[in-house]
């Protein structure tokens, strides 16, 4: 990817890579020792990169999660699956291209896969509404989930949205109901379900396809109750406080693992998924396959019970002293 857009904190790494490339060119056809030296430098460089990217601030993680070159749902579907057939429409109002879904095979196993789909450029983003779904998007998702249940197919959901779309039409057609109904449907679905946050996990619009047996996150993805900017403008009364909000919200994959929400982090290519789609997709494919193998051992009742227990346990509650308990 030569035309990658480079973020500030990515610059030193990109420059280092350029220098190694340059050096390789200069020393092409050199001695075996030289080749060894280059290999050593390259190993050193990737070690440095790994360290660098393991220490990103939450704010930098957020920038990677929203990186304009970050792979989207259809990129992963293209890399990980075969026989993908997209299925469209909610059978009630229209097709919402902000969510895509369809039938496919993952390592030969028949599954139903869906996810939010962002656009790569302005034209695509107008079509995809920046991956911000309207009620018909969630109702399409519900239809596909029922289809999967009917035919005993596991459901894989790739989460990547800033949030559900806040618009007049979306409210008229019941955005709140559409999300709510998705949550309830997923909670009781009688097939194995796995969600993966591949980029931005934004609020209810993300969770609407995320009530699953397993929640995975790509290394540099984020998942939050509200965007740091939205949070900053409400709690700090200043949208510019978004970097602080990003830290306070504990939205990185590591944070969610520690909070007991995320079940596993999938490593990305060094520098982020946009710098190595193939490697990242292969890691994700492996993780999905492993989790599907585990879930395949559960009966229908056990699957629903497993999911209920997972979400039932999430939260942090304390017991007040007895005398303070009545107002």
């Amino acid at each position: 990817m030569n035309e990658t857009r480079v973020l500030d904190f990515e610059r030193p790494i990109v420059e280092l890579e350029g220098k190694i490339r340059e050096l390789k060119g200069l020393l092409a056809g050199g001695s075996e020792d030289m080749a060894k030296e280059i290999a050593r430098l390259e190993a050193k460089a990737s070690e440095l990169q790994r360290e660098h990217y393991a220490q990103l601030s939450p704010w930098e993680q957020l920038q990677l999660a929203k990186h304009p070159d970050r792979p989207y749902t259809l990129d992963y579907i293209g890399e990980m699956t075969t026989d993908f057939v997209e299925l469209r429409g909610d059978r009630a109002y229209r097709d919402d291209p902000a969510i895509v879904g369809g039938l496919c095979r993952l390592r030969g196993r028949r599954v139903l896969i869906m996810g939010h789909q962002k656009g790569r450029n302005t034209k695509e983003n107008v079509f995809r509404n920046f991956g911000m779904a309207r009620p018909e998007g969630y109702r399409k998702a519900q239809r596909l989930m029922k289809l999967a249940e009917q035919f005993g197919l596991p459901v894989l959901c790739l989460i990547d949205t800033a949030g559900a779309y806040p618009g007049i039409g979306a409210e008229e057609r019941g955005q709140a109901e559409a999300i709510a109904a998705s949550l309830e449907l997923m909670a009781a679905l009688k097939v194995p379900t796995i969600s993966v946050v591949i980029g931005e996990g934004g609020s209810g619009g993300a969770l609407a396809i995320g009530v699953t047996n397993r929640i995975l996150m790509l290394e540099h993805s984020v998942y939050s109750v509200i965007s740091p900017r939205g949070c900053a403008s409400i709690l700090w009364k200043n949208a510019e406080a978004e970097q602080t909000a990003a830290e306070q919200l504990r939205m990185t994959a590591e944070d969610l693992l520690n909070l007991g929400v995320c079940d596993g982090i999938v490593r990305e290519a060094i520098g982020g998924a946009h710098r190595g789609l193939t490697v990242t997709a292969a890691a994700l494919e492996q993780a999905l396959s492993d989790h599907l193998d585990q879930l395949a051992k559960l009966s229908t009742e056990e699957l629903v019970a497993d999911r209920y227990a997972k979400f039932r346990a999430i939260g942090h509650i304390e017991q007040a002293a007895a005398e303070a308990s009545e107002g």
């Binding site: 409210e171 709140a176 909670a187 009781a188 007895a322």
Partner: protein, 286 residues
Amino acid sequence: MAWWRRKKEALERPESGGKISVPPGLWTKCDSCGEITYTEELVQNLRVCPVCGHHHVMPTSERIAAMIDEGTWVEHDVDLTSGDPLGFTDSKRYVDRITAAQKKSGRLDAFVSGTGKLDGIDVSAGFFAFEFMGGSMGSVVGEKCTRVFERALEKQCPALVFSASGGARMQEGILSLMQMAKTSAARAKLREAGLPYISVLLHPTTGGVAASFAFLGDLIVAEPKALIGFAGPRVIQQTIGQELPEGFQRSEFLIDHGMVDRIVSRLELREHLGQLLRLLGSGEAA
């Protein structure tokens, strides 16, 4: 809020659904028509303006007293309180906000759960306390609401939730978001068991509460002119950059768009809910 309105703490709090007593001589001005009414008279009228019918904000204790039969209310989960799982600090520390809200509201968090009778029918009920941090849903609210559904299942009785909330509580981050999933999963169990759940939408019901159990009622009833929706009007306005239509996201707008079953005046709400429950088979001889 008008300066002469009395402080809430001074109200006597009935713990078992009895009459509210208000010291005489205090006045409240109607937010809608401007009419000045004796507070005592207004409270007796369930805070519905006797002149224009405007539904004023109703403290949770008065709400419980108005909906639940006298002497039948048993509050549960009374000692659940929020921790600070993220160590969250904005302009104030979250723990300090909690303490301040507890002092101001006299409640430990933004939700009251319990059991009692509504118009003679056993119910498991939950009431949002909007006076506590805008009724925002964190771990405690999610837990208590989940228990309302679980308790209905256990007692084989209907569930009712009276929602008034700005949505998920930001200070508990992702844990707040996940309460939407937890409560909806509990609600799903009730549906499977064939027990009724009526959701009552009060002013305002938005965000993560609207987008979970509040819109999952078998029946959804709203008070008049309540603001109900997913996104707040300000966010929508900023996103689309145009004025919002008159009455947008109000109960009347929702009923026109097929999103709620009924709009019911607070003065008739209890009887109406009782009638609906009986029509669904609750409280009827088997």
